[in-house]
């Protein structure tokens, strides 16, 4: 397990994401958050995780943890196909920008979000938006749930195999059922 960017050249600065070495870490962060939000990119519907797609895990987690969902790119379509309606549809940089604004009252207008969970964005797009949040949203915690290391998140998996990833995602879901 290492803090090595997935794209070799995308080395971050001195402040780098801590590793989610076990699913309990992500689970605890989500549990503690009062106003979490999922930012779900277009690749979420492309990635096969054995018989499911990544987006299916997102939907399951969003339902169980009661997390609001922002669909970026054309991901909304994929959610709707699965009978799930996201709370907002907007470009990834637009939601990123709003998350840097401490006065923004969130997608439902009920108060600022305190945790943003990123998944399924093109790697470098996620990298740069998380960098914006790392630098300009000091009160926001961020997690990347992709199976590649996102150095600019507060917490991220390292570059892990699909199998390991599935195990982790399943474990996060199971923990919550306790």
């Amino acid at each position: 397990m290492s803090q090595e960017a997935w794209l070799t050249a995308e080395v971050a600065g001195p402040k780098k994401a801590s590793l989610i070495t076990k699913p309990e870490i992500a689970d605890a962060m989500i549990r503690r958050a009062k106003r979490p939000i999922f930012v779900v990119g277009s690749i979420a519907a492309e990635i096969d995780l054995e018989e499911k797609k990544l987006i299916d895990y997102v939907i399951a987690m969003a339902k169980r943890y009661n997390i609001q969902v922002v669909a970026t790119g054309n991901t909304n379509n994929e959610f709707l196909k699965r009978g799930f309606t996201p709370d907002a549809v907007m470009p990834a940089v637009d939601i990123g920008n709003r998350l840097t604004d401490p006065r923004w009252q969130g997608v439902d207008g009920k108060g600022p979000h305190d945790l943003a969970i990123f998944v399924g964005l093109p790697y470098q797009m996620g990298w740069t938006i998380l960098s914006g949040l790392k630098n300009f949203a000091p009160n926001l915690k961020t997690i990347s749930l992709d199976n590649v290391y996102q150095p600019n998140a507060r917490w991220s998996f390292s570059n892990i195999s699909i199998k390991n990833w599935i195990m982790n995602l399943e474990a996060i879901l199971v923990n919550r059922e306790d």
Binding site: G13, K15, T72, N97, T100, P122, Y123, G132
Partner: protein, 782 residues
């Protein structure tokens, strides 16, 4: 023109102080008024003259910073860690640093176009004389240089006049670059204003470059029916000697074609081009052929087909010599800006250089005289081609070789971790080595030819060559038609579409421009262009984007240029030309204000930009933007109030300029009829935004084409496109419709029920359609 510098040179003069030889001096710039339009408030603006206008825009569209590096290493105080609210040793903050890097990139871009323009104008003056008349469109164009008139307040008439414009550009860029020095400008907003100034200068220099070459070389003059030319690897007759030219500055290529013409060799030799030189060659002669955008360099060179490579400037792979050497293709460098380490042979007898190149004594030569390049390139190609026959097979790797190499793969994934598009190379190689080539073949379309994968591979597998070998059928079938770059837009075309555009009845002008760093291949770009032409937008294009749009076939085997009109009208796909021709797109927006709306153009930047911003529904899309030039081009559009969309790689430009649709207070304009402030909604919502997918881009284009001045009919039409695309591509009605409906008449009839329900739910209130401006009256009409 408005002013003129008088140069006096005296060979020999007897004076009291003695005999003076070769005296040259200028006696300043004398006013020479031949243009009756009154001079506006801001001719030759300094970098702070238009600051108020920039701040007005930047107040709506604030930067969202996306630091691509947390450190600064620009001086030896550094490296400094700027993360969060830390400051550098010089005191700069992270936002300041990001804006500074954007300014630096924009300066590189503007300097590149300006230097290109200078090289071109100097050469053309030597060749044709300083008094050569500027004529970018014959009788069809009276406003010959809209950007120059707007920015400089002068009306250039000859090639010589353009030198003064370039003097100004060079002076401005020097000052702008100086602002990036340690301890100079550190305020992020001021830096952003300077970025916009840089962009404006960039468009000025691009205009100079293109009208100079159009006028001197007789390139198509605002011709909607410019000839259809060949594009694609498959259009080359490989049995002939083949010359490849790469870059942007066309004089060496012109000399190549002139030499062939003079020696009756046209038809005996293939002259092929990659990148904008390719585009400009085909504007000069429809016999020239384009291979493709910049990402085709490696695949074409490695095919062995070119017998000689001539490079000029910009966007050329810096390892071109290494790649060429491997296939014994000699290289001629032609610009002092890109010498490639080659010996300067300018002025040597052509015979000697040709002998050295053909015998292989030298890999290449630096020849900085276009005329000499013409002779050497053509004759070398003819002499060397027979010797290179075996190498010209066009076969990258035999199937057996490819299989053998794929088997060397250890699945370490280093290639994928180097690939900008995260292409699943290891999986494709594994499948290929099992005899299943489909996945590798599929990669051909999305590979941008950067060969970073090869540099990363510990097994030294020539991955890109394997990909191209797998995609060889596709490559060989690349033979399409592209409409040669037409240059400027005619005044009459502007008169005809001006009204419908300003009223919103032509839903928008969308310009697909820029480089070929596409996230998922070029077809996406062609599909977008076709979609918007079918929706009766005016689609403009230039440079690598124009090529990519051409490299697409419909069901009847036709390229978009064979199907759509080249006239600047609704439903057209208009190729203006190369990178520097982008100035005709901004120029068209400016001409709408001046020719259609009769606003004074001369030295009147802020008023015209305010007009364009509030009334002309133009949107730029740089789907594969990669270069620093793309930054300066975009910045020139921003200052005119024209939003720009980039693909997902565009977040690496370090900041977006985003509006906040939820901040109602941001979206008021002055109504010049009543003096009241009127809420107009977030139109256009963003000034610079990266989007993730083609689908999202299409919805964004439709959305960003709305303007405060749209009539109800126009707005209803624009809303129809926005809602229709949103529903089709994103699966649902947009949730922000209430922000774009000003009165019931704005609601598209076919969607009335749905929209009225949404408006009710959102507590929508009717407002008015103002005569919109962002400028306080005294500034707007000084």
């Amino acid at each position: 023109m408005g002013t003129k510098e008088i140069n006096i040179s005296i060979k020999e003069i007897e004076t009291e102080i003695g005999n003076i030889k070769d005296l040259r001096f200028s006696v300043g710039r004398l006013a020479q008024e031949t243009w009756d339009e009154p001079q506006g408030p801001t001719p030759f603006p300094s970098m702070s003259t238009l600051r108020n206008w920039d701040l007005t825009l930047l107040n709506r569209y604030k930067p969202f910073y996306l630091p691509f590096c947390d450190l600064c290493c620009l001086c030896t105080f550094g490296k400094c860690d700027l993360t969060g609210d830390k400051k550098g040793a010089c005191g700069i903050t992270m936002p300041g640093q990001q804006s500074r890097i954007v300014l630096l990139a924009a300066c590189i871009g503007a300097a590149t176009h300006t230097s290109h323009a200078r090289e071109l104008v100097t050469h053309l003056i030597e060749e044709f004389g300083a008094d050569t008349r500027l004529d970018p469109g014959g009788l069809n164009i009276k406003v010959e240089a809209p950007i120059t008139r707007l920015v400089c307040g002068m009306k250039p008439e000859t090639l010589g006049d353009l030198e003064m414009v370039l003097d100004y550009s060079e002076q401005q860029i020097t000052q702008l670059l100086a602002c990036t020095h340690t301890g100079q400008e550190g305020n992020p907003v001021d830096l952003e204003s300077k970025v916009m100034h840089t962009g404006m200068i960039d468009h000025l220099s691009m205009e100079v470059a293109d009208i100079a070459q159009i006028s001197s070389y007789d390139l198509p003059k605002a011709d909607p029916n410019a000839p259809l030319v060949d594009i694609g690897f498959g259009s080359v007759d490989t049995t002939r000697p083949v010359i490849l030219v790469i870059g942007h500055n066309v004089p060496p290529s012109v000399e190549i074609m002139d030499y062939m013409q003079d020696n009756e060799l046209i038809g005996d030799i293939e002259v092929t081009g990659i990148c904008c030189t390719g585009i400009d060659m085909t504007r000069y002669s429809s016999k020239a052929k384009i291979i493709g955008p910049i990402s085709w360099q490696i695949r074409y060179i490695r095919s062995g087909i070119p017998d000689i490579i001539v490079v000029d400037e910009q966007c050329i792979r810096t390892d071109v010599l290494d790649e060429a050497r491997a296939l014994k293709i000699p290289v001629i460098a032609t610009s002092g800006k890109n010498c490639l380490g080659l010996t300067d042979r300018t002025g040597d007898p052509p015979e000697e250089i040709i002998d050295d190149l053909v015998s292989g004594k030298i890999d290449g030569a630096l020849i900085m005289n276009p005329g000499e390049v013409g002779v050497v390139a053509v004759r070398t190609a003819m002499q060397i081609a027979p010797k290179r026959k075996k190498k010209k097979s066009g076969i990258f790797l035999s199937p057996a070789e490819a299989l053998e190499m794929a088997k060397e793969c250890t699945q370490c994934r280093e290639c994928r971790r180097a690939c900008p598009n995260d292409i699943h190379i290891p999986d494709a190689l594994k499948a290929f080595s099992r005899g299943e080539p489909a996945m590798l073949t599929g990669i051909y379309e999305s590979c941008v030819g950067c060969i970073r994968c090869e540099s990363a591979c510990p097994q030294e597998i020539p991955i890109h060559s394997l990909i191209v070998a797998a995609g060889e059928d596709t490559l060989r079938n690349e033979s399409f038609k592209l409409r040669a770059g037409r240059g400027a837009i005619q005044d009459i075309e502007i008169r005809q579409v001006g009204g419908p555009i300003v009223l919103g009845e032509i839903p928008g002008i969308v310009a697909f421009v820029g480089c070929a760093n596409y996230p998922k291949g070029g077809n996406e770009l062609a599909e977008m262009a076709i979609e918007f032409a079918n929706r009766r937008f005016i689609v403009c294009t230039s440079g690598c984007a124009a090529m990519t749009i051409g490299m697409y076939r419909d069901e009847d085997g036709k390229s978009p240029y064979e199907v759509y009109s080249g006239t600047f009208e609704a439903g057209a796909i208009v190729n203006v030309g190369s990178c520097v021709s982008n100035a005709h797109i901004s120029g068209a927006a400016v001409k709408i204000a001046s020719i259609f709306a009769r606003r004074n153009l001369r030295g009147n930047y802020a008023e015209i930009a305010d007009y364009v911003y509030n009334r002309v529904g133009a949107v730029g899309v740089a789907w594969g933007a990669m270069s620093q030039k793309a930054v300066s081009i975009a910045a020139g559009f921003w200052r005119l109030g024209i939003p720009v969309i980039v693909g997902p790689h565009g977040t690496k430009y370090r900041r977006m300029l985003l509006g906040r649709s939820d901040h109602d207070e941001d979206w008021y304009v002055d109504d010049t009829r009543t003096g009241e402030k009127v809420y107009v909604g977030p139109v256009p919502e963003h000034l610079f935004i990266a989007v993730e997918t083609k689908e999202e881009a299409m919805v964004m284009i439709a959305k960003l084409s709305m303007r405060p001045n749209d009539t109800s009919r126009g707005r209803a039409l624009k809303l129809t496109h926005y809602i229709d695309l949103h529903r089709r591509l994103l699966g649902a009605m947009p949730t922000d419709i209430h922000r774009f409906v000003r009165m019931e008449a704005d609601i598209p009839i076919t969607m009335k029920e749905d929209i009225v329900a949404i408006l009710k739910e959102k507590d929508w209130k009717e407002t008015v359609i103002p005569d919109p401006t962002l400028l306080p009256e005294k500034e707007a009409f000084p």
